[in-house]
């Protein structure tokens, strides 16, 4: 699982506290691409990427499950890498390409999740899809161990993971 974190941000996280994060300015003008569209956010660069996506762009498929990088419900792609958008600041996205669940085009993967029974309450599902998609982009034929490793940053409390891993395996089987 690749999670990109700036050292400055990690320090801030250690000292905790949402407010401090909000007041930190990373880069004053931000422009980025979200799901293929160029955007110049109204939100301050110190906004969490998660909040920008959900509040300003209304891309609510990205969920907040913990706000501290533990659950993966907020997973998005930044330049193709899966990252927790709750730990990522808008300012860090300057000039980068962000893809959310709404921008992921992977009909086979979606179908495999639906048909295998990998979805229960569904709150974790977009995050798993994003992680699985990132894995398959990098490594189209992962082993089960590689799938489990790639999905280990995503929590699911409903399924016991078995059917999620099977769903990803099915897609790899299809090549």
């Amino acid at each position: 699982m690749s999670i990109i974190l700036s050292t400055e941000f990690i320090k801030l996280l250690m000292t905790d506290n949402k407010n401090k994060i909000k007041n930190l300015s990373v880069s004053s003008e931000v422009s980025l691409s979200v799901n293929g569209m160029s955007r110049t956010p109204k939100a301050s660069p110190s906004t969490r990427l998660l909040d920008y996506l959900r509040d300003e762009l209304k891309l609510t498929g990205t969920k907040e499950g913990c706000g501290e990088g533990e659950c993966g419900a907020c997973m998005v792609l930044v330049d193709g890498k899966a990252v927790n958008s709750c730990l990522f600041l808008l300012g860090q996205c300057n000039g980068r390409e962000v893809t959310t669940i709404e921008g992921i085009d992977a009909p086979k993967l979606f179908k495999a999740f639906e048909e295998t029974g990998a979805v229960q309450c569904g709150f974790c599902t977009p995050g798993f899809i994003v992680s699985a998609y990132a894995l398959l982009q990098q490594n189209p034929h992962p082993t089960v161990a590689e799938i489990k490793e790639a999905l280990s940053g995503n929590l699911c409390r409903c399924t016991g993971y078995k059917k999620i891993v099977e769903a990803v395996e099915k897609v790899t089987g299809n090549g």
Binding site: T60, C71, F113, G122, K148, E149, R157, C158, Y161
Partner: protein
């Protein structure tokens, strides 16, 4: 009642893809936090910072005009949340009884500004001596929190002559068991929105029981129940954690909405959610068990105590299920059982999948594993001699008349895993620094539906409407919280009416649109509510003279002059199901699901880290209406049981949880997940829809004892508590080594 229709089944028994899956995978499904409300205010909660104290004074700074502030003075009616008792206030007034208890509320547009204001509100307290453990609660030395004896509820009975039976026993074993807290850890935290609506208020939120919220708030808001409209939003997991708790948070949002005149949303972040919501009751069991020389159980003496926390919530029913599970799935004619749920100045404990049964079954099943070890017999054979079978009577004297798949389940897991051979081999394996193997077993049951008189009190009602234009509309208050209820109900109705499943929809659970089919709890949905749907469908067929076998329903409706058909059914407890709650005698449940599970582990002999290699579980749940959904329940429930037994450590110090985030409270990930093999057994129940019983809770129940049994088998050391962490194993093994140099 709802027997097995004779027509060909197109949906029941098949892995129909759940209706909501497509929206969920692409992120289109709207949970409460994803729905927009115009002019929405954010609500936050001001909480007690003391474990037990008198509130002397609240010092509130000047508040901006656009901020709404609510205290107990703003509660129009009586200050409690209705459940079994009237002890839980909506907001604390004179005293606080746990750290985090709500005292006041704020609403405004800017959450950060509200948090700053909240920090300026100072509350002066006078601390009172806190009751901080089960032992404190029963000591009688501290002023009680509840009643005069601090006991929320107790059940007990004596059956047969336990004294004599113990005296004549060849073996007697005494054990004490402890279980810890467990957090539901639904991925979506608690959240509701309330807004003024018609003559009252409307509440939309993440919940299991819309009618609980309505009924729970009516006295406090001083509104007729029908003026409180409650609607479930798509719910991101619940596991009991959204059974009774949403009534409290909904009440808070409603008070703010009624005072401000605007929609108010309260959602908890993960830290607040873990810190203040209900958990699984910690427990303590002191048990004695006797066997004759042939290893048949002669008697049991059970003292079972649950830590209920500061308010009674659902403790009495959790206790009842625990008490009924305490003797396990065994024949035993001589029992002394005492069970109590006690009050402490800790978080209120509440509903969690299994509902008292996981604690009780951990104790009996771990004790059976210990007994097997001490009597030098393997755990499988010991169970073979003692389990309940068709025609036997349960501990409360209930005759098991049908659908008892326990022995099949036991044999299935034992054969599949080669249990006895492995167990005996591991028992004598060399301790030479190589990884140690272990295998453990548990047998268990889950009573389907409410305990005892529960279904009689709820009187569940369900309706099915039909017209050729609109198709079938199922109207029930039962919610889909991830388990797939919507899909199961559609399967049942489509086959009962012999229609295409696409013609069936399930109404949103909204108290103004659906009858009260009862809360979505107690593994009752498929059996009880699904059964009512089946009966409604049979009524509809009859209304136009159609049958499912002839598949002529639509045609017959066309020919008749009825445009819209409707059928409504109430659940009636069958006359031959008789339960005496005071004596604790009779038919505790209409029917039981049965199960056996085997856990296999490898233990590192140096670090005592345990790797779980495989869980094999067999569940007799009657007809599996949707096998993929059933497997999903079994796999997910088993993993929750494994987490409970091993890594999910939650402790408190002075009423404050030491693990209040996902960083500190660890739940299993893909890497902690063993191979899982599920065996579904279908001993059909004559009164269940197509023969179905219940499945939701049972999978979690037996895993902890099987896990601990496996670790014991690997190490040759006994344990009496969960979660069983490497630290505990380490301490125990070293003590054992000191005490017994031969080891």
């Amino acid at each position: 009642m709802s027997g097995k229709p004779k027509n060909e089944l197109n949906y029941v028994g098949r892995p129909i893809v759940r209706v909501d899956a497509a929206d969920k995978v692409c992120g289109a499904a709207k949970y409460i936090n994803d729905i927009e409300f115009p002019d929405l205010l954010i609500g936050i909660t001001i909480r007690s910072t003391r474990q037990r104290a008198r509130i002397l004074k609240m010092n509130v700074p000047m508040l901006p005009p656009d901020v709404t502030f609510v205290t107990t003075d703003d509660i129009p009616g009586e200050n409690y949340v209705t459940l079994f008792n009237k002890d839980q206030p909506l907001l604390a007034k004179e005293v606080v009884n746990y750290l985090g208890e709500p005292i006041a509320l704020l609403a405004g547009t800017d959450e950060d500004a509200l948090r700053k204001l909240a920090a300026q509100i100072q509350i002066d307290y006078e601390d009172l001596p806190a009751i901080d453990s089960i032992e404190d609660a029963l000591s009688g030395k501290l002023p009680p929190i509840y009643g005069d004896d601090n006991v929320f509820k107790s059940y007990g009975y004596i059956k047969g002559e336990p004294g004599n039976a113990f005296a004549e026993s060849a073996f007697i074993f005494d054990d004490t068991f402890h279980t810890g807290y467990q957090e539901q850890a639904y991925l979506e935290t608690q959240g509701v929105v309330a807004f003024p609506y018609r003559n009252g208020v409307k509440i939309v939120g993440s919940m299991q029981c819309p009618f609980y919220v309505q009924k729970g708030l009516s006295p406090a808001l001083k509104l007729d129940p029908h003026d409180i409209v409650v609607e479930q939003a798509i719910t991101g997991g619940a596991f009991g954690g959204k059974e009774e708790f949403p009534s409290l948070i909904s009440g808070h949002a409603a008070l703010l909405a009624l005072k401000s005149g605007k929609p108010v949303k309260i959602t908890y972040d993960r830290h607040e959610d873990i810190s203040v919501t209900t958990k699984r009751h910690p427990s303590k069991s002191i048990r004695r068990i006797g066997f004759d020389k042939n290893h048949h159980i002669t008697a049991m003496d059970i003292d079972f105590v649950l830590n209920g926390g500061a308010h009674s919530t659902l403790s009495q029913v959790v206790l009842a299920r625990g008490a009924l599970g305490s003797p396990g799935a065994y024949k035993c004619d001589n029992i002394r059982m005492l069970s109590r749920a006690v009050a402490t100045n800790q978080l209120p404990s509440g509903a969690f999948r299994g509902f008292g049964a996981p604690q009780a079954f951990f104790a009996i099943e771990a004790q059976m594993n210990h007994a097997a070890y001490r009597m030098n017999i393997d755990p499988y054979s010991l169970r073979k001699k003692n389990i309940l079978r068709l025609g036997d009577r349960t501990a409360t004297g209930q005759l098991l008349k049908e659908s008892v798949g326990l022995e099949k389940a036991l044999d299935a897991v034992a054969e599949r895993t080669n249990f006895t051979e492995k167990y005996n081999q591991y028992r004598v394996q060399l301790h030479n620094g190589q990884p140690l193997k272990g295998i453990g077993l548990a047998t268990f049951f889950h009573g389907c539906g409410f305990t005892g008189k529960g279904e009689e009190l709820i009187k569940a009602t369900a309706s099915v409407d039909y017209s050729n234009e609109t198709g079938v509309l199922i109207r029930i208050a039962t919610v889909d919280m991830g388990q797939g209820m919507n899909t199961v109900m559609r399967q049942i109705a489509a086959d009962a009416l012999a229609l295409q499943i696409e013609r069936v929809i399930v109404n949103i659970p909204n108290t103004a649109e659906v009858p009260n089919s009862g809360p979505t709890v107690a593994s009752r949905t498929t059996m009880i509510v699904g059964g009512l749907i089946c009966q409604c469908c049979a009524d509809l067929l009859k209304q136009v003279g159609a049958t499912a076998e002839k598949r002529d329903f639509a045609e017959k409706v066309n020919m008749s002059n009825i445009k819209i058909l409707t059928a409504t059914r109430d659940y009636r407890v069958p006359d031959d199901v008789v339960w005496d709650e005071d004596k604790f005698i009779g038919d505790a449940y209409p029917i039981y699901s049965w199960a056996a599970a085997v856990v296999e582990v490898t233990v590192d002999p140096v670090t005592f880290e345990v790797t779980v290699d495989k869980i094999t579980a067999a569940h007799d749940i009657g007809k599996a209406i949707n096998p993929v959904l059933v497997e999903g329940q079994i796999e997910g429930g088993s993993l929750q049981g494994l987490g409970y037994a091993s890594i999910e450590v939650m402790t408190e110090t002075g009423g404050r949880l030491n693990q209040a985030s996902f960083t500190d409270y660890i739940i299993p990930t893909t890497l902690d997940t063993p191979e899982m093999e599920t065996i579904i057994l279908e001993e059909t129940y004559s009164r269940g829809p197509f023969g179905a019983k219940g499945v939701g809770e049972q999978p979690l129940v037996g895993i902890p004892a099987a896990y601990v049994g496996a670790v014991e088998n690997a190490l040759g050391v006994e344990f009496g508590e969960i979660p069983l962490t490497p630290e505990i194993i380490h301490r125990r093994v070293h003590r054992e080594r000191r005490e017994n140099t031969n080891y």
